[in-house]
Point group: C2
Chain length 434, copies 2
C-alpha cells in the first residue's frame, strides 16, 4: 500500500478501538459518578488562543494552517485553553461549581517517540469557579478513583503533590525571588529530562552563581512537608496562608479517602506556565517514577485569555502512557465483539427468512448477524462460534411444518424450538436483556 | 471575550453534548445490533490520500498544512479514504465481510451555512469485500433501522435509490456514452443546487446540442423502474446483468423489511466520483426533499489508492442535517444530567462525613455530588432538586447517636433511615442498579 497513516498517528482497527472504548468508558464512568458533565469543543482553534501567555512550549508544537480568508488556526494541542474560552464566554450564566470533563483528541507536532505521539486522546477533568482547595482535593480524588477502578494500587502508582505557592516560599528561603520562581519551576520540571550538565548550564544562565543548582535540587528532594510548612509559615503572613491552605488540602484528601495514594514532593512543579497553586503528578512507583499524568490549579487563565476571572483546577491524562502502564501492570482486558445471535439457514431456500429474523432481532436491540456465504449448517455454526456469538438461531425445515426455529446456546450446546413470532422476546430473555 | 470559536465550528456545552451523545448512542446501537465493529483513524492524513481520483470537489475543501519535515497533511474531510487505506493495508488478513462503522469528526473548509459547518461528526457504515448486492441491501437496512429508531416513518423520510450502472444504460439510450456518464452524474447531482440557466450552460458545454438537458432531466424524473429495467435489459448482456442485479437488490431490501422506506429515483446519482453501482440518498419528504445523507457502492476505491482490489458499499451521515431534521419533526428528547444522589450535611461539622459517603457512593458507581457551599439543609435540598438528583442522603445528628443517615426520595418525598455502613448497597437498590 502506497499511502500509510502519518507517522505518530494511529489507525484503530476494531480490536484496537475496543480497548480505547474500554478506557474511555472508565474515564467517563468515573467522571459522571463524581458529578462532572461532559463537554466538547472544536478540533482547531484560532492560533491566537495558544499564543497568549497560557503556556510556553506549546506554540512550537502546533500544527497550524490558514484558511482562504487568511485566518490562522491550529489543531488543539490541549483542552484547557478551549475550556477557559468557553467558560469565560458564559462566566456569568454558569452556576458554580463548574464541574466539567472531556475526552478530546489532541495534536502535537512533536517527534514521535515512546509514549509520545502526534495524536492522542486526553481525559480532562476540571472544576472552575471555586477558590477553596476542596476543589483541588476533589479533582485529585477523581484521579485516584480512576486508578483504583483500573486495578492499580498505591503500591503501583503514586500521586506526587506539591504547591507552587509553597514552593515559591521555600525557594525564597534560598535566595530565589518570587518573580523568578516561574522560571525556576520550568527548569526544575525539565530537570529529570536533561543531562545534569545541561541543567546546570541552564540554571546558571538564569540564576548565576549565587544560587547553586545542586543545593536547590537537594533541598527540593529532601524537604519534608513539615519542614516546608515551617519555612513558609516563618516567611510572613502570605507564607502562613499558603501553609494553612496546603494543610486544608491534605485534610480534604483524607475526607475523600484519596490520601493513601498521595505523597508530598516539592519537586513536583509542572511545566505549564499557567499553574498558580497546588500541582500534582501521577507516577508509576516502578520504572523510574514515570509520569502518567498531572494537573493543578490555574487561577488566572481566563483573564490571560482576555476574559473575566474564573479560577480553576484540573488535570489532563493522555491515553498513550496510561495504556502503556496498564499493559506493564497486566491490567488490560481481552475484549471481543459483543455479538449476541448468529442466524443460520439449514437449507439455502430459507435464507430470506434468515434476513427477516435478523432484521427483527436487530430492531429489538439484539446484536444479530448471519453468514454471507450460503453454506452447510455446520460451517455456519463454526462461523457463529468464531465471532463469538452467544446464541445461534437456526431456520430449518420445522419452520415450514410447525412455524418454529431452533435456538441453540453456543456455550452449553442446549437447543430448544421457539415459535417464529416469539423469537425476539425469547432471545432477549435468554440473553438476560430485561 | 476576545477569542471566540472559529466560524463554522461548534462549542458543545454540557447540554449540547448530551444531545450529541444521545445521537451517537443511537448510531452506535444500530450499528452494533447489525454486527458492525467500530474503528477509528487519524484526524489528519497525508494530503496525497485526498489528491487521488477518489473524489473531485474534496481537495478544494481541505484544511491542509505542512510539518517541519515538509510533509503535507490535511484534516480529514471524509472517512472513506481512511477506511480504504486501512482495509487495503490488511486486505489479506481481514475475514469477509468486513463490516465496520465509525463516528469520526470531519473538517471541510467550506463557507459555513445552514446545515453545513466547517466541522461535523459523521456516522459511517460500510461493508467491504462483498460483491453481491446483499451487502448494499444490508447497509441500506441499517440506515432504515436508524430512521425507525429515531421515530421517523416512511411518511417523514424516503430512501431514494438508484444505480449508476442502471443510469449509465438509460443515459446511453439518449446518446450519452458510458465514458462520459461520470461527468453527467456530477452535473445531474448538482442540478437541484444550480439555477436552471447555469445547469443548462454547464450541460451544453459538456454534451453540446445533441443531447438536450431538459429532455434528459425529464427522462430521469419520469422513468419508472420498470421502464429503466426494460431499457437496460434491451441494451445488451451487460445491461441485462445490471437489471437483474437491481431486482436482486430490491428483493433483499424486502427480506430485510426495509423496502417500505425505499423509492426508485433515477436522478439519485451522488456526487462523489468513486461510486460504481447502487447509490442512495435519504431525504425528508417535506421541505423540498432535503437530503439528509447518502451512500453507495465503491468497488475501485482501494485500487485508486494504490492497494489491492477490495469492493465496498457504505454511507456517511452527518450530525448537522440529521439533528436539524429531528428538531423539525419534534423528535429531539429533553435531556438532563443523570445525577443519582446528592449528599447533604445537616450541620457544618458533619461535612467531612459528606465527603466520605460521597466518595464511597462514587466508588460503588453511583453518581453522587454535594454542595460546595456550607448552607442550611433546605437550601441544599433545593440544590439537589435542581440538578436534578434522584435521592438525597442527609448526614444529620442521628449519625452520632445511632450511626444512621437519612435517605430521601426526591420524587416521592419519602424518607428512611439507613445504617452508615449499608448506604451504598441501599442506594444502589433504591436506584434500581442491580
Amino acid at each position: 500500500m502506497k499511502i500509510q497513516a502519518p507517522k505518530g498517528m494511529r489507525d484503530f482497527y476494531p480490536e484496537d478501538w475496543r480497548l480505547q472504548t474500554w478506557l474511555f468508558n472508565h474515564w467517563r464512568a468515573v467522571s459522571q459518578a463524581a458529578g462532572f458533565c461532559e463537554f466538547e469543543g472544536p478540533i482547531f482553534e484560532d492560533l491566537a488562543l495558544y499564543e497568549t501567555k497560557s503556556g510556553e512550549g506549546i506554540v512550537s508544537e502546533l500544527f497550524h494552517f490558514e484558511d482562504r480568508g487568511g485566518r490562522h488556526f491550529a489543531n488543539r494541542p490541549q483542552m484547557t485553553p478551549t475550556l477557559a474560552r468557553m467558560v469565560a464566554a458564559r462566566a456569568n450564566a454558569l452556576p458554580r461549581p463548574i464541574k466539567w470533563f472531556s475526552i478530546p483528541r489532541m495534536c502535537r507536532a512533536e517527534k514521535p517517540q515512546r509514549g509520545r505521539l502526534r495524536e492522542f486522546f486526553q481525559w480532562n477533568v476540571d472544576i472552575l469557579g471555586i477558590d477553596e482547595v476542596l476543589a483541588d482535593a476533589e479533582v485529585i480524588s477523581v484521579a485516584v478513583s480512576l486508578l483504583r477502578r483500573l486495578g492499580l494500587t498505591s503500591q503501583d502508582v503514586v500521586v506526587k503533590l506539591s504547591s507552587r505557592a509553597l514552593a515559591t516560599a521555600v525557594l525564597q528561603s534560598v535566595g530565589i525571588t518570587p518573580d523568578t520562581a516561574a522560571t525556576a519551576f520550568q527548569l526544575i520540571d525539565r530537570a529529570e529530562k536533561l543531562e545534569p550538565q545541561a541543567f546546570q548550564q541552564q540554571w546558571d544562565a538564569q540564576f548565576g552563581a549565587q544560587v547553586a543548582a545542586p543545593a536547590v535540587m537537594d533541598l527540593l528532594a529532601t524537604a519534608t512537608l513539615e519542614r516546608c510548612l515551617k519555612i513558609a509559615a516563618e516567611s510572613g503572613p502570605d507564607g502562613r496562608g499558603v501553609a494553612t491552605q496546603f494543610e486544608e488540602l491534605w485534610t480534604a484528601l483524607q475526607a475523600f479517602e484519596a490520601d493513601d495514594f498521595c505523597e508530598f514532593d516539592l519537586r513536583t512543579v509542572r511545566g505549564l506556565a499557567y499553574y498558580t497553586g497546588p500541582v500534582f503528578e501521577v507516577r508509576t512507583r516502578s520504572a523510574g517514577l514515570r509520569a502518567l499524568f498531572g494537573g493543578g490549579r490555574y487561577d488566572n487563565l481566563t483573564e490571560l485569555l482576555g476574559g473575566p476571572r474564573v479560577t480553576g483546577v484540573g488535570f489532563g491524562a493522555g491515553d498513550v502512557p496510561m495504556l502503556e502502564c496498564l499493559r506493564e501492570f497486566g491490567k488490560l482486558p481481552t475484549l471481543t465483539e459483543q455479538l449476541e445471535v448468529f442466524v443460520i439457514d439449514a437449507s439455502h431456500g430459507l435464507f430470506p427468512k434468515v434476513q427477516e429474523v435478523t432484521s427483527r432481532l436487530r430492531a429489538a436491540d439484539v446484536a444479530a448477524d448471519f453468514s454471507y456465504k450460503r453454506q452447510a449448517l455446520g460451517k455456519q455454526l463454526k462461523q457463529a462460534a468464531g465471532r463469538p456469538a452467544r446464541l445461534a438461531v437456526i431456520v430449518g425445515d420445522e419452520f415450514a411444518t410447525s412455524g418454529t426455529v431452533a435456538v441453540k446456546d453456543l456455550a452449553t450446546g442446549e437447543q430448544r424450538n421457539v415459535p417464529w413470532s416469539a423469537i425476539c422476546d425469547d432471545a432477549r430473555t435468554a440473553l438476560g436483556l430485561r
